[in-house]
């Protein structure tokens, strides 16, 4: 169990990383309860690795919103692995399960954290998209705050001109973070707001411009076209921009999250995902599915309501958060 061992040492012995992992552990308490807790429970109840065992394992994974396809693949792989290693006892299968899960979460990628693509010189533009009610504006507020603290000059563009109160909401966040908000009146053309945002950000020598957009369901073709237009305006004004297109996903969303990721990618070439509301209710299984089926990196996760609860996604810390109980149990056993 090489990889998990490495994780364990890393997160229990190194002080710096321990702090990060604590945050994940805390934020994902409930995720963990449903995930590793259930797997542990399953292993305790079954002695033999048989069909029933696999069926229940399937259940645990599906209940965590891991995509149905992903789960089916995973179970098939596990069955093969169990056969190959000739595992009969459930306690032995545990390692195989966590290794396989980690493999998917982790991918072939060695890079642990996918940082935002912020240019050293000149203006970087971040476009934020997503369906209604996932937490786009809130995430932007938190992100602006963090970038400001890193010493960047940030400007926000209030591109959600549709929803009642959306501009005001962004303004409140702008005040809290102490950054400028470029806005038009409600109902105006979002592309025009973004255009003005770029002009303002340039003239104010800003480092980062974050563009908010109205939430839209991905099957509304005209609204998706509007989004493509916003992106085209950015492309035209600044070569190489937008440097990031962040898709905000609600972690409580089910299989539809895959549709969202797919369609928004088609319209705007999404470069990263912000997974919100991962604290408390969600299980984050959808991260697995998105990784497995779409291969878009998760860049940020929302682990709570506080400003610094928006964390850079650290695949290792996330995996550790999920399996913390399992790992610690093993430490005790040793």
């Amino acid at each position: 169990m090489g990889f998990m061992d490495k994780l364990k040492t890393k997160f229990t012995q190194n002080k710096e990383t321990k702090k990060v992992s604590e945050k994940y552990k805390e934020g994902m308490k409930k995720s963990r309860n449903t995930f590793s807790g259930k797997i542990n429970d399953l292993i305790a109840r079954y002695r033999k690795v048989d069909e029933d065992f696999f069926e229940e394992l399937e259940e645990v994974l599906i209940t965590a919103d891991v995509g149905v396809m992903t789960v089916m693949d995973l179970i098939d792989e596990l069955k093969m692995e169990v056969k190959r290693q000739n595992i009969k006892d459930t306690s032995e299968v545990k390692n195989v399960i966590s290794e396989k899960l980690v493999e998917i979460y982790h991918g072939d990628d060695d890079e642990e954290i996918k940082t935002l693509n912020i240019q050293e010189e000149g203006l970087s533009v971040i476009l934020v998209v997503g369906v209604n009610g996932v937490g786009k504006t809130t995430s932007i507020g938190k992100l602006a705050n963090q970038l400001k603290q890193q010493g960047k000059k940030v400007v926000l563009a209030a591109g959600d001109t549709f929803r009642a109160g959306a501009i005001e909401q962004l303004e409140v966040w702008g005040e809290r973070a102490g950054v400028d908000v470029i806005k038009h009146s409600a109902g105006s053309d979002p592309a025009a707001v973004v255009f003005d945002g770029i002009k303002a950000a340039k003239s104010r020598n800003a480092d980062v411009l974050i563009c908010d957009t109205a939430g839209r369901l991905q099957n509304k073709v005209n609204l998706m076209n509007e989004l493509s237009k916003v992106k085209r305006v950015i492309e035209r004004e600044i070569p190489g921009a937008p440097h990031e297109v962040l898709l905000v996903l609600d972690a409580t969303t089910g299989q539809n999250a895959l549709n969202q990721a797919k369609t928004f990618s088609e319209a705007t070439d999404v470069t990263g995902i912000v997974l919100t509301k991962l604290d408390g209710t969600a299980k984050g299984g959808i991260v697995l599915a998105i990784r497995n089926e779409l291969n878009i990196p998760v860049k940020y996760v929302g682990l709570g309501e506080k400003v610094d609860d928006l964390q850079q996604f650290d695949a290792n810390a996330f995996v550790y958060g999920l399996f913390a109980d399992m790992l610690e149990e093993e430490v005790e056993e040793e």
Partner: protein, 447 residues
């Protein structure tokens, strides 16, 4: 949509069985597996699926299916019946208190759509029940939430009660009731802040509001896209507040909406309304049977037919069919058709309700620009009566005049004429096809 509907899934399983003459228990097992996967992909909760599958299996292994000539369809029928049963009857009634105002409390997770639904519900109460509601802004946490409700209030010209973000939500709610009594509002809709069902402090706050204002209805607002967790959310809100009904939002998306089934199964509270769009009049009564079809990926034919029926005069439709057959369809008829179809609502919405649309390449992302339709209308309206009857007579100078009159270009006029001719050809083919098939497939006048 990423996944095929149940009907498609079963079809492939059925292929293996057809020709066998008899359906074995193994076959049924395979079919129920497909059903199970389809339900799980639709986000129906795992436990709910398990129970359902058990019941479906029992019925399927019984005579009902085994002896049927079309076991695949029979299975779908059984599944659909079970789903519809589980979701219960239609229930869009709202309580009326004998001592007004009637108080409705909106609760739910962040981003479910509570505030928007509050506005929609107020609009519904006024339009359908002739009531005058007071909206109450109790979300003091999310930035600009009060502002959002106030804007909605302005759009609807309805009063909104708020006390800023410093006040205690319990006080706001209590004072709002007094205000409603003074102003003779017969309904009070309280918009509360979104919260996680595991957040004990905020859940306590809701309980306090409940105790203080004694609401007649507590509606849980749930995002139709919610995954497996919908069960836990609904269960704990119900346990702590004893909700009286559910409003399912964002159903105009392409989610299957299995959450609906899960919620009904664990709380046994009926889903009363469905949010079908961003506009304030897009709140509709919830139809369990249609939801069952949708979860199974069978399209929302019923809604479509109903819409067509409500907007299309049957006599006109018959006349039209006759015209289609005899090829005497003119631009006048075309204009009339367009008017009827547009009365039914946004076209892309209609197209998505047709079963199998996901499989038709051209239609899947059919994008219908309403602006273009207006242009077409303008072009036709710029034609003389004779031109509309006999498009053949439209020559170059007539085209120029039509383009000028409609503010379009000659090439746009040309395009429409070409499309019209193609449509006529297609209609002929379609009517022939239908004759051959003995009226199979459905017969919507505008197709």
């Amino acid at each position: 949509m990423a996944f095929e509907g149940l009907a498609d899934r079963l079809q492939s399983t059925m292929k293996k069985i057809t020709g066998k003459g008899k359906v074995s228990e193994q076959d049924v097992k395979e079919m129920t597996r497909e059903v199970r996967l389809a339900l799980l992909e639709a986000d129906v909760n795992f436990k709910v699926v398990k129970d359902l599958i058990k019941r479906i299996k029992e019925r399927a292994v019984g005579q009902e299916v085994m002896e049927s000539l079309t076991p695949g369809q029979q299975v779908i029928k059984v599944v659909k019946e079970e789903l519809t049963n589980l979701m219960g009857g239609e229930q869009s009634k709202i309580a009326v208190s004998d001592r007004p105002p009637t108080i409705i409390m909106m609760v739910g997770l962040q981003g479910a759509g509570k505030t928007t639904t509050t506005g929609k519900l107020a609009n519904h109460l006024r339009k359908k029940h002739n009531r005058s509601p007071l909206l109450v802004a109790c979300d003091v946490y999310r930035p600009a939430a009060i502002n959002q409700l106030e804007t909605l209030g302005q759009q609807l010209s309805m009063p909104v009660f708020s006390m800023g973000t410093e006040a205690n939500p319990v006080d706001i709610a209590t004072k709002a009731i007094e205000k409603a009594k003074e102003e003779h509002n017969d309904y009070v809709i309280i918009d509360t802040a979104g919260r996680l069902h595991v957040d004990t402090d905020l859940m306590d706050e809701l309980q306090q509001i409940k105790e203080n204002v004694k609401p007649d209805e507590i509606f849980l607002v749930v995002d139709a896209m919610t995954g497996q967790d919908a069960v836990n959310v609904a269960e704990s809100f119900n346990e702590q507040l004893d909700i009286t009904g559910v409003v399912l939002t964002k159903l105009d998306g392409d989610t299957r909406g299995g959450a609906a089934l899960s919620i009904k199964a664990v709380t046994d509270k009926s889903i009363k309304f469905a949010g079908m769009g961003e506009k304030l009049d897009q709140l509709e009564p919830f139809h369990p049977e249609r939801m069952a079809s949708r979860i199974l990926g069978m399209g929302d034919v019923l809604s479509l037919i109903e819409k067509a029926q409500a907007n299309v005069d049957e006599k006109q439709a018959k006349e039209l069919e006759e015209k289609m057959r005899t090829m005497s369809f003119t631009f006048d008829d075309f204009l009339e058709q367009m008017g009827q179809v547009r009365n039914m609502g946004p076209l892309d919405e209609l197209i998505n309700m047709i079963p199998g649309v996901n499989k038709m390449k051209g239609l899947k992302n059919a994008q219908i620009d309403e602006k273009q339709l207006s242009q077409v209308e303008a072009i036709i309206q710029s034609m003389t009566k004779k031109e509309r009857q006999e498009p053949g007579i439209i020559n170059a100078s007539r085209k120029k005049r039509i383009a000028k009159g409609s503010g379009t270009t000659v090439s746009q006029v040309n395009r429409l004429l070409k499309q019209f001719n193609e449509m006529k050809k297609m209609m002929k083919q379609m009517t022939n096809m239908q004759k051959g098939k003995k009226g199979k497939g459905f017969n919507l006048p505008f197709m």
